[in-house]
Amino acid sequence: MGPPWGASGARRDLARRVGWGALLVLAVPLQSTVMGSVAIGGIVPDAPLLCLLLFAVFNGPTAGFAAGAALGLAIDLFSAGVTVFYAVVYAALGVGAALVGRVTANLHTAVLIAVVAAASLLLGVSQALWFGPFDRAEDMVRWMISGLVPQTLYDTTLGGALYGVWFFRHRPTRHTFKDQDDFFASGRFSGPVR
């Protein structure tokens, strides 16, 4: 027995799942091979993070957690690190982004940009706290100036641009109180109105 929304809905749902899956599976290989070519001043945009945030915002905390943990594990595996640091942090960021998506009534590009900026900054700071400490204060300042801030700015800019394009193409429906009033006023609702 097929899904209640019919065959075309099932195909669309399957295509959506395949699309998200491909995005998440390709994120880490892309990061380690292709993304270096768009580096500016040695700063490489964090493709797995951008993919994860977009996925988590639209798919909820459980999916965000699972995707974050999987992406983080892949990063842990192919990076020089020997811990599961990225699995933990990416899973947490996935949950956080999904919760922001849940509580934000009017989701649009600005919200996603803010989510990217916050996530990128949090990831950078958590790395410094976990992998540090710095030998000297000068190293920390140098890292903040040449690493943390440019990375956050680059992630935010690229993420904002990509999410803007995504929104422009998909135009997700945004419901307002006026929509609700119009709906009840249209007479299509036959139930009791409180």
Binding site: V28, P29, Q31, S32, T33, G36, G42, V44, D46, P48, A74, I75, D76, F78, S79, A80, G81, V82, Y86, L123, G124, Q127, F131, D139, R142, W143, S146, G147, Q151
Partner: protein, 274 residues
């Protein structure tokens, strides 16, 4: 037919015409003078018509042949453009092959000069995380790669193998903050440890407090630990500072290898266990 000429008159007229023509034919002087009187306007008229016809036909021929030529030209242009594109692609590919050939030749020549056996490997990826500076090579345990093998180039030290998969390995670059390589200053023979910093440069630590190290000094591996044999180039001293209150001088070293553009590397075999 009142207006028609009678038969005898017609005969006379024909005869007169013939006589004139014969006269023109046989008397040279007549050929020049009276003929010229007729010839000039007729020739002028005919010449004009001829010129107009000729130029018109040549214009039409030109337009037609030009149009056809344009059609051919477009085709030829497209074909030449395709040829050019293909040639440029082949040239770029050849340049790439030549560059790769030079690099591999240099690697082979260098391999022949080193005392420790080493094996070539291709760089297939960079570290996917933001923190570490590492790269992935296409040489894994199936090809004999093992953890703690040194990785080098003819121009100097690259890093150390830290993770080994069946068909690939992860190499921690010397510029990573977690990397530490025992070195010595070639001029003074003083020993120290080179570590990575966040700016992609190196820091030479634990030199003797009275060290005479100067900018421009060459830093080489000391050979005290297994991954690297003695004397491999690490870099050159860029800056030496002696902060007040610090026991050791603060020495910044620029790596001799451009770690951001690596394509092939040599993995050094480890020494057999004693």
């Amino acid at each position: 037919m009142g207006q028609s000429v009678s038969g005898s008159k017609r005969v006379w007229l024909v005869a007169a015409g013939l006589a004139v023509l014969i006269g023109v034919l046989v008397i040279p002087d007549w050929q020049r003078r009276p003929a010229a009187v007729v010839e000039r306007p007729v020739a002028g008229l005919f010449g004009g018509v001829q010129r107009v016809l000729t130029s018109t036909s040549s214009w039409i021929r030109g337009v037609w042949s030009g149009y056809l030529a344009l059609v051919d030209l477009r085709r030829d242009h497209q074909r030449l453009q395709d040829d050019l594109d293909r040639t440029v692609r082949e040239r770029d590919a050849l340049r790439e092959v030549i560059a790769e050939n030079r690099r591999l030749t240099a690697l082979l020549a260098f391999q022949a000069t080193t005392t420790r056996p080493s094996h070539g490997a291709r760089v297939i990826g960079r570290d996917p995380s933001r923190w570490y500076q590492s790269l992935t090579i296409d040489r894994g345990s199936r090809s004999g790669a093992a953890a703690d093998q040194g990785v080098e180039l003819p121009t100097g030290v690259v890093g150390t193998v830290i993770k080994v998969f069946p068909t690939a390995s992860v190499v921690l670059l010397i510029s990573d903050t977690h990397s530490a390589v025992p070195v010595l200053v070639q001029r003074t023979r003083e020993q120290g440890i080179v570590e990575g910093t966040f700016g992609g440069r190196l820091r030479l630590k634990y030199l003797p407090p009275s060290s005479d190290i100067r900018a421009g000094d060459v830093i080489v591996t000391s050979g005290l630990t297994d991954p690297f044999p003695r004397g491999l180039m690490v870099g050159a001293v860029n800056r030496v500072e002696r902060p007040e209150g610090d026991l050791y001088p603060d020495v910044e070293v620029i790596p001799s290898v451009d770690l951001s553009t690596l394509e092939e590397v040599l993995v050094i075999e480890r020494l057999p266990a004693p």
